[in-house]
Structures are given as structure tokens and as C-alpha cells.
Amino acid sequence: MIDAELAMLPGDSPVQLIDASGDVVSDPHVTMPEPARLLDGYRSLVIGRRLNEQCNALVRQGRLAVYPSSHGQEACQVAAVMALDEQDWLFPTYRDSVAVISRGVPPAHAMVLLRGDWHSGYDPNEYRVAPQATPLATQLLHAAGFAHAAKLRGERTVVLAMCGDGATSEGDFHEAMNFAGVFHLPVVFFVQNNEFAISVPLSRQTAAPSLAHKAIGYGMPGVRVDGNDLAALLAVLDAAVDRARAGGGPTLVEAHTYRMQAHTNADDDTRYRDHEAVVGWQERDPLLRLRAFLRDEAAIDDDREAAFAQEADALAAQLRDAMNAETSPVPEDLFRYVYARPTPQLGEQAAALRDEIARSIPTPEVR
């Protein structure tokens, strides 16, 4: 086989730099990130984990309508953001709230969608984070188009688009990968393979040796990486982002991780998987292993850990308070943003609603 082809195929096993017990795995092709960077990453993991817990609690308290947790996938969430520069763009999904927050979006704003106040709670241009996408794989095309515009203007922007293993089965995944390959776009497709699409296991999504094996079909390299190893994720994503920025084109990165909790609080995973599998993944936890590594390297001490925990608690408390504070979405907003200028028809309809509310006739839900 031609070398160029070989270069597009993933290795036989995912790239790993720190194993489950925190020991270094040497890989000639990848370089270990600086300890300082890993320490910084660990801080984000701690915060991410804490926010996932907080959000689950907020659902139980009825403060959030629903929360798709990234518990156990925090290394992917954090690495995706750390790999990007200021001017780069992130295209996240409903599961990637921790990534959105790591990118700088205030937690309370990130939660607007899941609280049900509005469809999205932040200005994408302010943080260079697209709205979290719900229709699977659709955002991958937006990412490709965004990258295409950047390329046409000769900008150095790189776009990183996230999706899950299930989303790779959608036609939009194919079309996005193909547009990126054909136009050689500065975009990184980052698949978090957590082995489930709600109840459906990976084996129902693909018969391929790995999801990364799809890349060669689009003329781009496919890389497999341990999705619970922040060091490996950073090394792999940095390389992909650098390639994209240097004009080297797109990369498909498949991170092998695991969905530790139910799809959302509304899901009952006891119906379709036995707990052993979940337990088995607990010792592969991304926080535990990085902590062990940093301890061995003496790159972290109790004070630092305490400080991180404190920071995370503070942020979580902020979020809790914000969610507990009553907000009252404004009905008029339903008409305000549909078009840059409301149509006459929407004007009429908004007036009718205003009038209805003015007559203070309550509009109870019919049950």
C-alpha cells in the first residue's frame, strides 16, 4: 500500500500517553505536553467534574429541564478547548456544556437551553462557540462552512467540531467530512465515542474496525486516541489543529471514552446495559489517572488540589445560585428575533398576545 494511504489510517490501538494507573506510556510519534499545561488541564477537569455533578443536582431540584452529562468524558471536553486559540471556533453538541464553559461561557448562560428559558444563552461571536447543536451531525456542516469562509478570506482560524459516535451514522457527518476533504478545510472533527447513542451500542452504528477508519474515505487522516487520557488528547488535538492551521487540511479524531451515566436524567440505562461495564470504566477515570501522574511528577500538592476544589465549588455555587434565582422569560421575545425585522403578520400576532396578557387572562396549560 502507498505510504500516503497508510498515513491516513489509524494505528491498531488508540494513542495513549498516561495509562489508567497514571504511568507514562512512551510513544515515539507523540510528545508529552508540558507539566504546567497538564496541571492547568487538571484544574479544568476538576471544575468540569464538579459542574457535571452540580447540573445533575439542579435537574433533581427541578431547576434544569434536562442535563446530558459528560461525566467521565471531561478530558475530551477540556482538551477540545485547550487545543484551540483565541480566534478559533468550537462547534459543540448538547453534551458538551463543560467544553462550552471551559471556553469562557458563564455557566448560567450555558444552562439557558437546558433550563428552558431560551434556545441558547450566549452570543456565539463573543466566545467563538456556536450554539450547542441538538440535531445530530448538522453542526459538522456548519463547522465545515465556517472553516471554508475562513480559508477563502485567508484567515488562520481553525474550527473544531464535536459529535458523538451515534452521530457518525447520519448523512450530514458524511457530507461534512467530504466537503472538508475536498476543499481541504482547516477543521478538526472530534468524535467522542462513548460507546452509546442513548441505548444503542457502538456495534449498531458501525461495522468498521474503528470510526477513525472512515477518514481515509475522505482523504484525511484518522486518529484514535484514549479519550480519558488528557495528555494524549492534547497531543493528538494539538497536532490536528496545527496541521489545519498550517494548511494541512482536516483531521478526524476519534476519542475512545465511555458514557458513565444515563443518556440524560430522563433515561434509564438499567434497561439496556449492566452496571459491570460502567464499573469497569471507573478505574479508567480521566481525573484519577492525571492526578496520579501529576502526583508522581510532584507537579501537584495538597494545597493546589484544595485550591482547585475550592474554585470548582465556588463556580458550582455561583451556578446553583443563578439557577435558583427566578428568571421570567418575556413572551414578546417569541416574536422579536424570528426575523431581523418582524413581519407584519408577526406584528399582528405579537399585538394579539400583548393584548391577551394585558387583559390579564391567564393562559393555563390544558392537561
Binding site: R115, P135, S169, I198, R271, P329, L334, F335, L346
Partner: protein, 340 residues
């Protein structure tokens, strides 16, 4: 994302009338169809082991096996497109689109093939397949989980489109849909999944027939799916004010029961159409236009429409403003030229 919900009780074995939720009735219709006809297969996303995010397919894989009810790769065009091929090859596929907005990826397959194959082949290849779509709001769902997308389907010639409002009709119409030689889109009002009702599995609901849900003499309310309970509640409230409102449950959007609808409106001379979908170029538009044309000389007042606003569906905490409710219906009724 999936929404929280209870579980349907297990379908009662006897065929005697029994009380069940609409979800239970749909589940029962599927299992009865699977038991009755070996060519029926059920597939989609999470319909297997999980039993569907709304549990409509609960227990089917366990009872009928992986070959009769199974999960597919996550791809709606794939689900509908392979259903077309299965139907071409002698099966009666019943596929589930997980939520209304997640049926859109299959739109080309639905419009260009599902709806047209029978016509294309001069009837040589009929597609006896059913596309089940939980639709509408009222469950506090986030964006993309609450669309009322019926207009897209009813405007597409070749499709039969049903929207039941009761457990009884849910059972009977789904059974009829599965038996139909033509492709049927069944719009399931997810908001009513947990509403209970009497179900007599022996009582048919012919495709193409509307149902007089409540007798009345002063004006006619026309509704389907999620808006039927609204219409009935409005009629109940109007009663108190001494107004007698008739309620027609359209339930079969295509074919449309002109006979029953026009007879009903002629009997009262006044009409209000109630539907949750945005009103512009909608099913409500068609019903209003038909009535206005066919009952012109007997209409005492313009046909009013109480529909969703022409906006993307509202976020959960604002959805109550988007949904037609009793007060809006009564306000509309008040405008029907009562002193003419």
C-alpha cells in the same frame, strides 16, 4: 435529548374494553399487529431493548425477537429509505422517528419515494409502511422536540396522514395504518401519551373518517391530535356560559372527511379551527379555506383559526403562550357575529 415520562402499563391480554393510556394503546396496537402478521417489522432508534424513549415499543423485542423489532444505526433517511426497500420486498415496516424534528433528515425519502412509489409504478409496487412521529409540544421539550410538522406531510400527495386524539383512536388508527396498502404517517400527540381512555380493540376507526367528539348547536370547533382536548374543554366552559359548541375530531387529515365536516358546520353556521402548528399555510388554513368555500352561503361569520403563532416553537418556559388554549378558543368563538 429525551424527555422524562412514565412507563405504559403492560397491554392487557383480553380484548374486552379496558382503560389504558394512549402510549399503552399504541404499544398494544404494535404488539397485536406483530402477532397477527409475520410481515410486520418495527424498527428505529432505541425502539429495541429500551422500548423507545416514550416506551411505545416497550417489550416488543423481548416478546417478538430481534428480527421483528430492532434498533438501527442513527440515521433517519436510512430508517425510512430501508423501510421503502423492505416494503418493496413484502414486509410491512413500522418505523419510529424519535421526535418530530428528527424526521426531517428523511424528508427526501418521504416526499420523493414513500409518497410516489405506488403512483410511479402504476400500483405495481405499493408501499405498505407506517412512519410513526411523536409530534407537538406541551411536554416542556427543548428546541426540535416539539414541532407540529403535519403540514409538510398532508401537502405531499400519496401519503395518508393520521392524528389521533384518544387512546381508542390511537389503537384503531395505528392498526388501520399498518393494514393499509399505502404509506401512512401517524402523528402521535406526545402531550397526550399519558392520557387514559377506554380502548375496545375490536372497534375500528376507518381511515378517512372524522368523529363528532361532542354534540353542539351554536358553533363547530374543528380539531385534531393535541388540540382536541382543548376544544372539548372550551366546549365544556362555553356550556356554562350557555353556548352549545360542537366538536369535530378530524383525526384523519388525509384523506379528509369533507362529508362529516361540512355537515357539522352546516348544522351550526359557525366554525373555529384549532391547531397547534404555526397557522400560515397549515392544515388549519386548508380546513378554513374548504369550509369557507363549501359552506359559504350558510356561514354566519368568518371561519376563525386558533393556531400556533408563526414562530419557531417556544422554549419550555414560554411554550404555554404558543399552545392554543381554552381562553383563546372562547375569544375566537366570541367573534362569530352572534348578534347577526
Amino acid at each position: 435529548m429525551t424527555i422524562l415520562h412514565a412507563e405504559p402499563e403492560l397491554a392487557a391480554p383480553a380484548s374486552l374494553p379496558s382503560t389504558m393510556t394512549m402510549a399503552g394503546a399504541l404499544n398494544r396496537a404494535l404488539s397485536d399487529a406483530l402477532a397477527a402478521d409475520p410481515s410486520v417489522v418495527v424498527f428505529g432508534e432505541d425502539v429495541g431493548t429500551l422500548g423507545g424513549v416514550f416506551r411505545i415499543t416497550d417489550g416488543l423485542t423481548a416478546r417478538f425477537g430481534e428480527d421483528r423489532c430492532f434498533d438501527t444505526p442513527l440515521a433517519e433517511a436510512g430508517i425510512v429509505g430501508t423501510a421503502v426497500g423492505m416494503a418493496m420486498n413484502g414486509m410491512r415496516p413500522v418505523v419510529e422517528m424519535q421526535f418530530d424534528a428528527f424526521a426531517y433528515p428523511a424528508f427526501e425519502q418521504v416526499v420523493s419515494h414513500v409518497a410516489k412509489m405506488g403512483n410511479r409504478t402504476r400500483g405495481a409496487v405499493r408501499l405498505p409502511m407506517v412512519i410513526r412521529i411523536p409530534y407537538g409540544g406541551g411536554i416542556g421539550g427543548v428546541e426540535h422536540h416539539c414541532d407540529s410538522s403535519e403540514a409538510y406531510y398532508v401537502h405531499t400527495p400519496g401519503l395518508t396522514v393520521l392524528a389521533p386524539a384518544t387512546a381508542q383512536d390511537a389503537y384503531a388508527l395505528l392498526r388501520a395504518a399498518i393494514q393499509s396498502p399505502d404509506p401512512v404517517v401517524v402523528l402521535e400527540p406526545k402531550k397526550l401519551y399519558w392520557a387514559k381512555g377506554e380502548v375496545d380493540t375490536e372497534q375500528p376507526a376507518p381511515i378517512g373518517s372524522a368523529r363528532i367528539a361532542r354534540e353542539g348547536t351554536d358553533a363547530t370547533l374543528l380539531a385534531y391530535g393535541t388540540s382536541v382536548p382543548v376544544a372539548l374543554a372550551a366546549a365544556e366552559a362555553a356550556q356554562a356560559e350557555g353556548r352549545s359548541l360542537q366538536v369535530v375530531d378530524i383525526r384523519s387529515l388525509v384523506p379528509f372527511d369533507d362529508e362529516t365536516v361540512m355537515a357539522a358546520v352546516r348544522s351550526t353556521g359557525r366554525a373555529v379551527v384549532i391547531a397547534e402548528a404555526p397557522g400560515f399555510a397549515s392544515v388549519a388554513s386548508e380546513i378554513a379555506a374548504r369550509i369557507s368555500e363549501r359552506c359559504f352561503e350558510v356561514l354566519e361569520a368568518p371561519v376563525r383559526r386558533v393556531t400556533g403563532f408563526d414562530i419557531p416553537f417556544a422554549p419550555p418556559r414560554l411554550e404555554r403562550y404558543q399552545l392554543p388554549d381554552v381562553d383563546r378558543v372562547l375569544d375566537a368563538v366570541d367573534t362569530l357575529n352572534w348578534d347577526s
